[in-house]
Amino acid sequence: MDAFALELRGIVKTYAGGVRALDGVDVTIARGEIHALCGENGAGKTTLAAIAAGRLRPTSGSVTRAGNAGFVPQHPHLVDRLRVWENVLLGREPRRGLRLDERAAREDVAALGATYGLPVDPRARVETLDAGAKQRVEILRELAREPALLILDEPTSALAPAESDVLFDVLRALAARGTAVLVVTHDLGDVAAYAERITVLRAGRVAARFERGAQPAAIAGAMIGGELPALAARTSRATAPCFEARGLEAGSGAAALRGFDLEVRGGEIVGIAGVEGNGQRPLADAIAGVAPYRGTLHLDGRELAPGRPAARIAAGLRTIAADRQREGLILDWSVLENLALGDQRRAPLGGGLTLHRGAMRDRSASVVERFDVRAPSLDARVSMLSGGNQQKLLAGRALAETPRLLLACEPTRGIDVAAAALLRSRLIEARNAGVAVLAISLELDELFEIADRIVVLFRGAGAGEFERGAFDRARIGAAMAGVRGR
């Protein structure tokens, strides 16, 4: 029996635009090993993972696999309008005669989910699922094929911490059965806890290799080649009321908002905590004005009319959308043009008949600099940026100027530790400058770092409110689980 499940030798990948994403990388993974791949945004992790999975051909180098590989990509690859069971069993459907055996299929998928501790509703349409559930479906789809090697690109970036733990337990169980696992992640805590071996990429080369037991700080050091930047300090807190939601009802089904009240003052960061699917998405969509809702929203004392995103932007709302590729960025467009989106009608970029190229260039240069966006050039298409750099771009656009209200949905999703620290600092700086910030995040740790106040969302309504200084993991966790008591 072969000792290793995957052997990569001298992998070089040069993209069509001339970007050398990988430059002679060697990685070997043994059967039954959980191997973590870490690195800054744009270090080449996704590229390497895709090459390992056989989805991308290397420019040079050799790839040897001992068996079939399953691949869970960074951005979901599901058929939105099909049901969960259809997605999971696509290509290997149970059949009765010529017909699909739907009952058997549903039972298979439910059983699969139970086996791996990844609960899903086989009959749900994928488009109605939130990111975590989609992630589970995607993993199940790969597991259904019993791969010898499972490759996951940032599987936890859309998961709540508890869900990530479950996932890693699943991976551990898989590994125990002999499956090799290659996982790309920015969560160094997970890496330290679960990975047997760790490869750190830097600018397309292997920067360091670690064995189990390495300290997160050491890994981070190898990734960024220096110290983690410190978080910006918060200055004294303003109290002018800025944003107010009253009796908000939106969305449908289990994730609907049912009479939610919220207030965000200028110069305050309010974090919305909660298990995914408790009303976060309807809340964000109502505020952004892209979905119908009942109740009232006020910004700076003026009511926001429903269904008018443009009016909200004019009133000073900026958004970091939850799904950067579907809602936030135009992948076919350049960095420059993407950074003008939303502000095209206002000075200094627009305002008149034409767009001001000079102002657009200035803004782009400043955002790219302030948010450390690694892009080949301002004219490069956004689809050429790595996922994390796309996220930085999205955040940078929202904070290019000083908005009145910033709606930040999962602001650091898919961003490496250093960049995440930088972005959180930018959020705090905005707060210091008087911006009302509403941060919706599944990561409690993130909210602990930045929020002045945390509101827990449970089944579409407020289930508790905690002031900075009184943040208590246990009590917030209880509220998130629907246990009352303050």
Binding site: Q74, V79, L90, R92, E93, L100, R145
Partner: protein, 293 residues
């Protein structure tokens, strides 16, 4: 009373006759588009089917061979569309437009070559009334059959998945390009059968321009039908019934154009009524698979 009944019966019959070629083409279009390939070449496939059927029926004296030839001709064009769209990442609309122009040109030229005279073929051995009735039945059954195929069989599921997200289909270990090409080929064959209906079941000749925009009407039926076989069948029936109706309603005194406009006005009105409920397959017309991250 008797007259009214006879009128209703002949109206129904005329409706079916008008519906059949549109329905075949619409079903061909549905199959193609559900796999993710926009098929704007229905008109050309209809013409090719009609032309090939007439040439072969004329040469062999056997209309059944003509029927086979018509299906094959439509399927060939479908294959070219599918192949260009998948293996060469061709833009579906450009390729489809090109195939239309090609097919109509080739048929017009083919008439000169095959019958030594431009414009229209000779009359050839045709399928006759029995064939016409049989093909109408085939068209209606094909709609039901395609519904069962798309929604009840694994291959239907795979094909629909291709139209929504080919990358996911590839992840599942299938070859979306191949599936799409197969769907286009089958769809082309069905559309070709629509051409056979026109040329050999309803008539017994090929004449330039005889498809008269039916392929485009079929495209409209695909969209009205919400990209589903039964929907497309209903839409084709409505188009068929409206044109049958305008034939009956024409009277001296009323401008004939007003009556001829009826089906098209109805379609516009329906557009306002059917408030975008149906959605095109998500990856319909997307030539390449999306990048994976």
């Amino acid at each position: 009373m008797n007259d009214a009944f006879a009128g209703a019966a002949s109206f129904a019959a005329l409706t079916l006759v008008k519906t059949a070629p549109i329905l075949f083409a619409a079903l061909g279009g549905v199959l193609c588009e559900r796999s993710g390939v926009v098929n704007i070449a229905l008109e050309g496939q209809l013409a090719a089917g009609a032309f090939a059927a007439v040439v072969v029926a004329g040469a062999t004296g056997n209309p059944l061979l003509g029927l086979v030839a018509g299906v094959v001709a439509g399927a060939l064009l479908g294959f070219v569309l599918g192949f260009a769209a998948t293996r060469f990442a061709a833009d579906h609309i450009v390729a489809g437009m090109g195939l239309n122009i090609f097919a109509l040109g080739a048929c017009a030229f083919g008439i000169v070559v095959a019958f030594r005279r431009p414009g229209a073929s000779d009359e050839v051995a045709a399928l006759g009334n029995a064939g016409e009735a049989a093909l109408i039945a085939v068209a209606l059954c094909a709609a039901l059959g395609m519904h069962a195929f798309l929604y009840l069989t694994p291959w239907g599921l795979r094909l629909r998945a291709c139209g929504e997200n080919p990358a996911a289909v590839r992840d599942a270990g299938l070859d979306p390009a191949r599936l799409r090409t197969i769907a286009c080929t089958l769809g082309g064959g069905l559309t070709g059968l629509g051409g056979v209906f026109l040329a050999l079941a309803e008539l017994d000749l090929y004449s330039d321009g005889m498809t008269a925009g039916r392929g485009f009407i079929a495209l409209a039926a695909v969209i009205f039908g919400g990209w589903t076989p039964l929907g497309a069948a209903a839409a084709s029936l409505v188009f068929g019934a409206l044109s049958a109706l305008q034939f009956g309603l024409q009277r001296s005194g009323i401008p004939s154009e007003a009556m001829q406009a009826l089906p098209y006005l109805a379609a516009l009105a329906a557009l306002a009524g059917l408030t975008g409920r149906a959605r095109a397959p998500q990856a319909d017309g997307v030539p390449e698979e999306r990048r994976f991250d």
